[in-house]
Symmetry: none
Subunit: 194 residues, 4 copies
Amino acid sequence: MKKEKPKYRQIIDAAIIVIAENGYHQSQVSKIAKQAGVADGTIYLYFKNKEDILISVFDEKMEMFADRLKEIIEEPITASEKLFKMVENHFTVLSADRHLATVTQLELRQSNLALRLRINAVLKNYLVLLDTILKDGIANGEFDKDMDIRLARQMVFGTIDETTTTWVMNEYKYDLVALSPKVHQLLFNAIKAE
Amino acid sequence: MKKEKPKYRQIIDAAIIVIAENGYHQSQVSKIAKQAGVADGTIYLYFKNKEDILISVFDEKMEMFADRLKEIIEEPITASEKLFKMVENHFTVLSADRHLATVTQLELRQSNLALRLRINAVLKNYLVLLDTILKDGIANGEFDKDMDIRLARQMVFGTIDETTTTWVMNEYKYDLVALSPKVHQLLFNAIKAE
Amino acid sequence: MKKEKPKYRQIIDAAIIVIAENGYHQSQVSKIAKQAGVADGTIYLYFKNKEDILISVFDEKMEMFADRLKEIIEEPITASEKLFKMVENHFTVLSADRHLATVTQLELRQSNLALRLRINAVLKNYLVLLDTILKDGIANGEFDKDMDIRLARQMVFGTIDETTTTWVMNEYKYDLVALSPKVHQLLFNAIKAE
Amino acid sequence: MKKEKPKYRQIIDAAIIVIAENGYHQSQVSKIAKQAGVADGTIYLYFKNKEDILISVFDEKMEMFADRLKEIIEEPITASEKLFKMVENHFTVLSADRHLATVTQLELRQSNLALRLRINAVLKNYLVLLDTILKDGIANGEFDKDMDIRLARQMVFGTIDETTTTWVMNEYKYDLVALSPKVHQLLFNAIKAE
DNA sequence: TATGAATGAGATTTCATTCAT
DNA sequence: AATGAATGAAATCTCATTCAT
C-alpha cells in the first residue's frame, strides 16, 4: 500500500513545512518536491495531483485527532469529561505543531472549494465522534435532552475552531491549552441538563 | 466621494454575483466587468486592483451588519434579547441574499492571507460591538461575571459562523433564520449568570 | 496657425520636462497634460497623437540648431571656424538645457522606429547645412578636396552625438562646451587639406 | 554552463531574427519561442525575463567583436593598421549578418534606459580595447601624443556607429565594407602625429 | 474650445503536469 | 521507480484615444 512507503510520508511532511513557511499560494509542487528530497515527477507516483497532496495532509492529520478521540470516547469517564478531553486534545496537538496549526487554520482554507468540500468530508468523521459524546451525555442525563444535537455540534466545533484560528492569527502569543477549562466550561454550560 | 458613484456599487454588486456563481478562482476581472456592464479598464478607475474589489465587497456588506448591530445595542432591551437579535439579524441578512452568503462564507475565504487579514480588520468592528453586548450583560447581572469575554466572543462568533457555513454547504436547504432561538438558547446558556 | 497658440508650446515644453524627469516609457499622455495644465483630451486638439507630440518636440528644438547654423554659415569666416562654431553651438545649447539634452540623447531614442525615422528626416536639414560647410571648405581649399562628403558628415555628426551622449550618461559631470576646441581640432585634422 | 546548452543559442538566434524582422516592440516572447521551436515557458528556463534575452543577445554578439579585436591588437602591425582592421572587422561582421546589424543599430536602442545602460557596460570592454590601440599608437609615435584619448575614442566609435546606422537606414544599399579605407583615412588623419 | 470618464486591446510570466530516458 | 526538462494555457492591468457634454 502506497501510504506505507517512506516517500509518501516524506512528501506529506514536506508539504506541511513548505505550506506553513511559504503560504498556500507560494507552495509550488517543485518546492514541496525539493523539501522532500525527490524529483518533481516523483510526487506524481504517490499523489494524483497537487490537490491530492493537500487532502492527504488533512486526512493523515485528522486521523490523529479522530484516533485520539476514539480512545477518549471509550474511557469510563463522564460525557463532560470527554468533552473536556476533546477540547484539550485538540488544543494540545495544534500547540505542539505550529506548522500544522498554521496549515489547517489558515493556509488550507485558501484552497479551492472542491478541496474544501473534500476536507469537510474528512472532518465529518471527527464530528460524528463528537456527536457520540453528545448523545452519550444526553443518554446519561448529563446534557440537556432537548438540545439540537446538530446545532450543539456546530457550536462546539465552531468555538474550538474560532479559538484556534484566533490563537494562530495572534501568532501563538498565549497558551492555547491553558484555555481548555474555560472553553469547556462555556460549552458545558450551553448544553448541560438543567 | 467615490462610494456614491453609481459605477462603484454597480461593480461591487456584480462582483458578488459573479463570485457566487463562478467561485472565487473563476471570477476574472473581465467577467465582473461584463456583469457590471462596464469595460475592464473602468474597474481600475474605481478599484486599485482585483483584491481591492474583494476588500470593498466585504467592507460594504459588513457595514450593513455593523450598522444594524449598533441599532440593536441602543434599544432598551435586555442583553439576552440583544444577543438574540444579533443572531437573528445575521441569519436574516444572509438568508435574504444567498449570493452574499456564499461569497462571505465560502468564496472569500479562498483569498490569500493578506486579504484575509484585511477582512479580519473589518470584522473587528463587528466583534467590538458584540463585546459591548457581553459587557452590558455582565454589568446588569444577566451574564456570568466571571466569564472570559474574549472566549465568549469567539464562541458566539464561531457558532454563528459555523452554523451559517454549514447551512450554505448544505445548499440552503433548511431555514436558517428559524434556528435563531435554539442558537440563542445555547449561547445564552453558556454565558448566563448562575 | 496652431503652432502659434499658447497651448501648443505649453504642451511641447511640458513634454520635455515630463520625459526628462520620468523617462520615455513613464511619460503618459495624461502626465504631459497634467504638467501642461490642460485636460487629456485637449492634447488631441493640438496634436494628432502621442507620436506627433514627440516629433514636434524634436522639430521645434532642431529648428533652433538649424537656425543658428544658418547664421553661422553666412558669417564671413573660414569653413574651419564655421565647423568650430557649429560644434560649440551644439554643445552650448544642450549644456544650457539638460532636460532637452536628456530627452534628445537618451529618451527619444527609445521611441519606435517609425518615430526615429521621422526624427531623422528632421535631422536631415541640419545635416544638409553641415554639408554646405564642408563643400565651402573644399571649394576654398581649406578641406581635402578628395574627401567623401557623406562620410565626413557622418564622422562630424557621429562624433558630436557620441560626445554629447557620453556626457549625458556621465550625468553632465564635466564641462561639455569646454571640449569644443579639442573636438574641433580632431575633426579638422581629419578633413583639412594637406 | 548554460551557454553551452543548445536551446540557449537557439533562443538567442531566434530573438535576433524575430526582432530584425518584426521590430523591437512587435517581438513578443511567444514569437521568439515559436521561431526557436520551443514552448513559451521554455524561454524562462534559460532567461530570467524578456529583457534578459536582449541583454544576452548583445552580450554574446559583442563578445565576437571584442574577441576579434583582441586578436588584432596582438598582431605585429602598426597602430594605424590595427585601427583599419578594427573598422573593417566591425563593418564586415555587420555586413555579413544584416539581422544582427538591424538589431544592434536600430531595434535594441528602443529598449528602456535600464537595458541600454546594461548594454553600455558590455560596450565598455570593446571601447577599452580601442583605447589600447590609441595608447599604442601614441607610444610608438604614430598618433598625436597630445590628443585627448577619451575624445578620440568617442570620435572613432561615434563615426563607426553613425556610418553603420546610416547604412542600415539606407537599407544596406551600398557596400559598407568598401567604406573601410576612407573611414580609416578620416580617423587616422584626425589623430596621426604631425 | 475644452473636458475627463470611459474604453478595450494586448503581452508577460507562472506553474501543474507529462513523458522520454 | 525515479528523474527533471519541457510544455502551454491563462489572466491582470495599462494607457492611448474617443466622444458626449
